[in-house]
């Protein structure tokens, strides 16, 4: 029997400097550890901070050709601009995760939606808004199971600079906790 084809398109979007490409690389590395077929692409402006920025990760069990995400199974938006630009290409059964520190207006009705102020939470509980990307990524992974959590942890350890690993592992733990609590809130 042929196993069913599995292909998930994930877009992580926001503004330059929010660590979205870093999050994309970590997610892709985690998927490689899970033995999936992966591509990770990105789009950003010429400036190093500000401007629209996004990272796409496609995770599949069969060979595919086009490397950019066109219709998303999972969309993470860390800014209103990113939400406005990309939400229309979220699949009907797709999952939206939005940082409502910045995303104030959500018009989508049919998808699974999670809203949390990741940037605020990071600034308050981790004393730095820098790991908001990992916080959101950890939340995303626990909610969607798109990669295994042990692979995600390994990918963070191997990719993040040593002196920031502890901070990001704290963000990872907190992100998982937020995901569990989010469910119990409902």
């Amino acid at each position: 029997m042929k196993k069913p084809e599995f292909k998930k398109e994930i877009r992580l979007s926001g503004s330059g400097g929010q660590g979205l490409i870093t999050a994309g690389i970590i997610l892709a590395r985690a998927a490689v550890l899970d033995k999936a077929i992966v591509t990770q692409t990105q789009s950003y402006g010429p400036e190093s901070r500000g401007g629209a920025s996004r990272a796409d990760v496609i995770i599949s069990n069969t060979e595919f050709y086009f490397p950019e995400a066109t219709h998303f199974d999972i969309l993470l938006t860390l800014t209103q601009e990113a939400y406005d630009k990309y939400s229309e290409n979220l699949k009907d059964d797709g999952i939206l995760i939005a940082d409502n520190t910045y995303v104030k207006t959500i018009t989508l009705q049919y998808s699974e939606i999670y809203e949390l102020p990741f940037t605020e939470i990071a600034a308050e509980k981790l004393k730095s808004s820098l790991p908001a990307n990992i916080l959101a990524l950890a939340f995303l992974v626990r909610k969607t199971k798109i990669v295994s959590e042990s692979s995600l942890k390994k990918a963070i350890k191997s990719f993040i600079k040593p002196r920031y690993v502890d901070l990001n592992l704290k963000a990872l733990k907190l992100g998982f906790k937020l995901a569990d609590e989010y469910e119990s809130d409902l």
Binding site: A31, V32, D34, T41
Partner: protein, 393 residues
């Protein structure tokens, strides 16, 4: 989730960026000199080589600009190094002076051009395929070009090795084109067994120095090449030159030189031209696409086939010399040809040249060439190509 069903020796797979694959490929091919000036989206190539070359006894120099970069590369090659530089459109424009010189002086070197949106400084962080013609016709004067264009991270590794091999083999400047998306994307790569990779070095003269002629005639147009410092004396100039490399105005000597520049490419077309043919056997519609766009095309072929449309893809890995024979035979037998590209119609112009000639009219079946063009900094998507396929009756 995706598990276990892929490949057994999966642990050898690594997630690699396109630019990193180019740097790794160059090192595998024996690169020992890099000079250049960093420019988005090619910078990672320079970054990696600046760290790796010194460890292996090689040289990395960041020059003051791209003209100096290509000049240093040519100088290093004349002294025996396998030399390369990398840039993007704006820097490639500056390097054309040196590229023409390297072709004229028959000095092996490789220039990587990671294409971004243009003209001018254009779109530094967006993909484009607008240097296809520039890589062929950019330098002044009439000399053929060897230009390769991969479509994956793995192929970026392989074609970099091939570019350096061909430069050494044919004593010329070889251009490797890629684009911003290909250069920055990460995908899984299983690097080939290094024992099975063929590395070509330049042919060294075996005759005594006093008999040596730097541009000697050779039946296969592959003249042995001495390096400075090996005891062989020769002269190098951008002026038309005789067999020793000294300037000449004599028509018969110029004739020999120009013939060699041309023939060393045209005599070896089979060695130089590489194509990929995908689902072409029973196709009635063919897509002709290169580089990153060919991946959208391949996805479109898959989608079209699902709805019963017989579509195939012909992809050139060698852009120049243009694969005339494959285009004539494989595309000329299809009713409709679709050419998607991230420019204003550079590849399609060549397809029309090959298919459109009166000499071919009787034999070819192609009745329609559909162009899909995009120059807004975004990729052509599979659906956009699919829409073009749907137009076909």
């Amino acid at each position: 989730m995706a598990k276990k069903e892929i490949k057994k020796n999966h642990q050898e797979m690594t997630l690699m960026q396109g630019n990193e694959a180019i740097a790794r490929g160059a090192l595998t091919a024996g690169l020992n000199f890099y000079a250049g000036y960093p420019i988005t989206p090619s910078t990672e190539i320079a970054e990696i080589l600046s760290a790796e070359l010194p460890k292996r006894g090689g040289v990395f120099i960041q020059m003051e600009d791209e003209i100096a970069g290509i000049s240093a590369v040519i100088g290093a090659s004349l002294a025996g190094a396998k030399a390369m530089t990398a840039t993007s459109g704006p820097g490639f424009s500056l390097m054309l002076e040196g590229i023409g010189f390297a072709k004229m002086a028959e000095t092996p070197c490789v220039v990587v051009n990671v294409m971004r949106g243009g003209p001018s400084t254009g779109l530094p962080t967006s993909p484009s395929q607008s240097d296809i013609m520039q890589s062929r016709w950019g330098n002044h004067g009439d000399a053929p070009a060897i230009v390769l264009y991969p479509n994956s991270v793995k192929e970026s590794f392989e074609l970099t090795i091939r570019a350096i091999n061909l430069a050494e083999k044919y004593r010329t400047c070889v251009v490797l084109l890629t684009d911003e998306v290909l250069a920055h994307m990460r995908e899984m790569v299983e690097l080939p067994d290094f024992k099975n990779i063929r590395i070509i070095d330049r042919i060294k003269p075996t005759i005594p120095p006093e008999w040596y002629r730097h541009y000697d005639e050779n039946p296969k147009y592959r003249t042995p090449l001495a390096s400075y410092g090996e005891g062989y004396r020769f002269h190098v100039t951008g002026l038309a030159h005789d067999l020793y490399g000294f300037p000449t105005n004599k028509a018969d000597e110029i004739e020999i030189m120009m013939k060699r520049l041309r023939k060393k490419i045209t005599h070896h077309i089979k060695d130089l031209v590489q194509i990929e043919s995908f689902r072409m056997e029973d196709a009635t519609t063919a897509i002709f696409a290169a580089g990153i766009t060919s991946r959208a095309a391949k996805a479109a072929v898959k989608l079209a086939r699902k709805s019963g449309k017989r579509v195939g893809l012909l992809r050139p890995l060698t852009i120049w010399p243009f694969p005339d024979e494959a285009v004539r035979k494989l595309l000329g037998s299809k009713k409709t040809v679709i050419v998607p590209e991230l420019n204003q119609g550079q590849l399609s112009l060549e397809v029309k040249r090959v298919l459109g000639g009166i000499w071919n009219y009787e034999n070819r079946k192609t009745r329609k060439i559909i162009e899909v063009r995009k120059t807004n900094g975004e990729l052509i998507t599979p659906v956009e190509i699919l829409n073009a396929i749907k137009e076909v009756k």
